[in-house]
């Protein structure tokens, strides 16, 4: 229970359904704010208090689990490392994969619990009742759907998952929270990366990785500017490039590529972002058996991105591992390495993989 409205209503719904529910708040950051050393953040942070109050109102036990170390290693450090490699990671996805449905789930199961229940906006296919294999389906609230950040879960993890909010909208969640007397009913949604308090990712990364000046070039190699660290850029980014001179044609320029070894950021016109073929590694198939040939499906390439028709084919990668080759029916823009490619059949998640490369439609010179 994060202290937000979603997890509070999810816990209330699970308890009302007759399950034996225990609330757990995850202490994820070290916050030495008192004379004691280490994490005592829970006693000062408003979110932990809100979560505890919600548990009290629902009438369930409540505990704080200190997963700061695991979170730092598996999510924060991974986030920093990925940026250092020129990729654009999604830390929420990593947290679901490594913390909520791994560290927390493992501990919960060992302690005698059957499942981890969260306030994510997603559904488990009602046609496949528990216990048994589950499939992930989009929330009825398309605008709030979080199946993208859950698609990395394996079918084993989904069997131990519960998402009681998938069949209602966010507005309904808030109404229900108010009806249940939960004080968090009107609490604003959180948008930012939870471990970057002020929301300034570039500043956070500079603090972690230090200043690393490099060049900003055009596809033909012409130097058009300098940067303070290539980790501050994302493919598709247009604002904040700080270019010293305008493009010859006067059109806006976008980040087309980030090359971490030479620390070079390549910029160019929007067409340079068009991508038709994508390679993605470490595929996970939760919604179907691993396909043996090409599959026609929809693919979503970033959180809240539009799903696009594509053909996906598992192949053997250069290093021998499973790789997914994705051919889009129409070019997509702003495909960033490190993001997940999530495959859907209609509303149902088939699987997901991490984007490792994108072939531009045409070389831009």
């Amino acid at each position: 229970m994060s202290g937000g409205v979603d997890s509070a209503v999810a816990a209330a719904r699970a308890a009302q359904a007759g399950h034996d529910v225990t609330g757990v708040h995850l202490a994820l950051s070290r916050n030495p704010s008192s004379y004691r050393t280490g994490a005592r953040g829970c006693c000062t942070l408003e979110d932990a208090r809100d979560a505890r109050r919600a548990a009290d109102v629902i009438g369930i036990p409540f505990y704080v689990w200190d997963l700061a170390e695991r979170f730092h290693e598996d999510v924060v450090q991974d986030f920093v490392d990925e940026y250092a490699r020129g990729n654009t990671p999604n830390p929420c996805l990593r947290c679901n994969e490594k913390i909520k449905f791994a560290a927390v789930l493992d501990r919960a199961v060992a302690l005698g619990f059957d499942a981890v229940c969260t306030g994510h906006h997603a559904r488990l296919d009602p046609a496949l009742p528990a216990p048994g294999p589950r499939r992930l389906v989009r929330s009825v609230d398309g605008g709030k759907d979080q199946s993208y950040v859950l698609a990395v879960l394996t079918s084993q993890q989904l069997e131990r998952a519960m998402f009681p909010l998938g069949d209602i909208t966010k507005d309904q969640v808030r109404q229900e929270a108010a009806g249940r007397g939960l004080a968090v009913a009107a609490k604003p949604d959180s948008h930012d990366v939870c471990f970057i308090a002020d929301g300034d990712t570039r500043k956070f990364l500079r603090g972690q990785l230090g200043s690393a000046p490099g060049r900003i070039v055009e596809p033909d190699g012409t130097v058009v500017g300098d940067h303070d660290g290539s980790y501050g850029f994302t493919v598709g980014q247009r604002r904040g490039l700080g270019l010293s001179r305008p493009a010859p044609d006067g059109r806006p320029r976008y980040v087309l590529d980030i090359e971490p070894v030479s620390n070079t950021v390549t910029v160019g016109p929007a067409e340079g972002l068009d991508v038709l073929e994508i390679e993605a590694a470490r595929p996970v198939w939760s919604g179907c058996a691993p396909p043996s040939g090409p599959v026609e499906c929809l693919v979503q390439l970033r959180a809240h991105g539009e799903p696009q028709p594509a053909t996906c084919e598992p192949v053997t990668g250069d290093s021998g591992g499973d790789v997914l080759r994705i051919r889009l029916d129409r070019p997509a823009r702003g495909v960033a390495r490190g993001q997940a490619a999530v495959l859907y059949e209609g509303e149902t998640v088939l699987g997901s993989a991490t984007i490792t490369g994108a072939l531009q439609v045409r070389a831009v010179c």
């Binding site: 699970a14 007759g18 399950h19 034996d20 529910v21 225990t22 757990v24 202490a27 008192s34 004379y35 004691r36 280490g38 994490a39 005592r40 953040g41 829970c42 006693c43 932990a48 036990p61 505990y63 704080v64 689990w65 200190d66 927390v104 493992d106 501990r107 919960a108 060992a110 302690l111 005698g112 619990f113 059957d114 499942a115 981890v116 229940c117 528990a130 216990p131 519960m162």
Partner: protein, 411 residues
């Protein structure tokens, strides 16, 4: 987290012919104990009365009389003069007043007295007050080490003083530890302090209901006591402050309590406090014997079920609070054990309740030489007036299975 159909591995059903315990099992009396019915009745009656004890009119005089009679009762129970009882809002405030107030007074009289001698195993009310003095008032602190069972030896104290006797402002050593129940040789330690004419404070919050505690006989300058650990209400306590000892106030205002602690006196709570003290002291010897026997059985049952569990602190006897049992369970996290026992309606603690929330390795166990894993994998069971044999048996029935499960959950 969810169990699909109630607690799949809930309380053990068949328990070997033992009588089922009567409802919840409360083994956390060191956190707070239940109010004695007599104290509750006295407080309830007093709450309906009108009058500020500092007022001069009839209603005020009546309230003042209640407070003063209570003060006399408490003074008598703890070998103090009535004027040596300074009522506070509880143990934390009394500890703050003792540590800060005595330090400030001593340093004001002699700026060279800037050093505090404090054991590493103090309650946070003392510990953090001392840290605050170090951070904000330039105090020097010598954290005195304890033995593996948590005891401070008089020789250790003497050695610390002898480093520079003229610089010591105050010594603070708790009477009995709130986590591991270790009882310090307070009279011997206070005697050392007296030789050097250094004020000696002791936090006697845990000791006051279970051991013979006296201001005069201990030779201490100041003792902290609180009501809710001995059958009184939460929110009232006292600093027993020896006559002739100045303490600079922490709270300023109306000048109540010898000008040392301002604030309207809480007559209902003070009356209930006095009732609880009188009863606790009257029953103390018998109750200590009863609790020690139950505690010994608890230790026997836990170690039978979990052979590698280790009892922290002194062995049962005069060196240990009769109502305290504190174990380390190798391979377990204390908060996992606590949660599993809570799910079986058995209440205990991983240590001082103030550390609850995010699990921290106990500073007490670390000071006793435990490594972080052992310090994290610990549980305190504390017995009190409501504890009966069935409570101990209920714990004995499930502790083996709970420890096994917590081990599987790992760290």
């Amino acid at each position: 987290m969810v169990n699909f159909d109630g607690m799949a591995d809930g309380p053990a059903s068949a328990s070997g012919g033992r009588p089922e315990p009567r409802g919840p099992v409360y083994l956390d009396h060191a956190a707070t104990s239940l109010m004695l019915p007599e104290a509750l009745a006295a407080m309830t009656e007093e709450l309906s009365q009108l009058g500020n004890p500092s007022s001069l009119h009839n209603a005020g005089r009546r309230a003042r009389r209640v407070v003063e009679e209570s003060r006399e009762q408490i003074a008598e129970a703890y070998e103090a003069r009535p004027s040596e009882v300074v009522f506070t809002s509880g143990g934390t405030e009394a500890d703050n007043l003792a540590v800060k107030g005595l330090f400030w007074a001593r340093r004001a009289a002699d700026p060279g007295r800037n050093r505090l001698l404090v054991t590493q195993t103090e309650h946070h009310a003392v510990l953090d007050s001392v840290h605050w003095l170090a951070d904000h008032e330039g105090a020097n602190v010598d954290w005195m080490p304890v033995s593996p069972t948590g005891r401070l030896s008089p020789a250790e104290l003497r050695g610390a003083i002898d480093l520079d006797p003229a610089s010591v402002a105050l010594i603070s050593v708790m009477w009995a530890n709130n986590e591991v129940g270790t009882v310090q040789p307070i009279a011997e330690l206070a005697q050392v302090a007296r030789e050097y004419q250094i004020p000696f404070h002791s936090d006697a919050v845990q000791a006051a209901g279970q051991l013979p505690v006296g201001l005069a006989s201990s030779g201490a300058t100041a003792l902290t006591i609180t009501a809710h650990k001995i059958g009184g209400p939460v929110g009232v306590g006292a600093l027993l402050l020896a006559r002739g000892t100045d303490a600079v106030p922490v709270l300023h205002g109306g000048g109540q309590e010898r000008d040392v602690r301002s604030g309207t006196l809480d007559a209902p709570a003070i009356r209930a406090f006095a009732v609880a003290v009188a009863i606790a002291c009257e029953r103390r010897a018998d109750e200590a014997k009863r609790l020690a026997a139950l505690r010994d059985d608890l230790i026997a049952q836990v170690t039978a079920a979990v052979p590698d569990a280790t009892l922290n602190g002194e062995p049962p006897g005069p060196g240990r609070l009769p109502g305290n049992a504190h174990f380390s369970f190798p391979g377990c996290e204390g908060d996992a054990l606590l949660m599993l026992l809570d799910a079986r309606d058995i209440a205990c603690s991983t240590g001082s309740a103030c550390t609850a929330g995010v699990a921290q390795p106990s500073h007490v166990l670390l000071a006793m030489g435990a490594d972080e894993a052992r310090a994290r994998g610990s549980l305190r069971f504390s017995l009190g007036s409501s504890t009966v044999q069935a409570d101990i048996d209920a714990l004995g029935d499930v502790i083996g299975e709970v420890v096994e499960r917590a081990r599987r959950a790992g760290r």
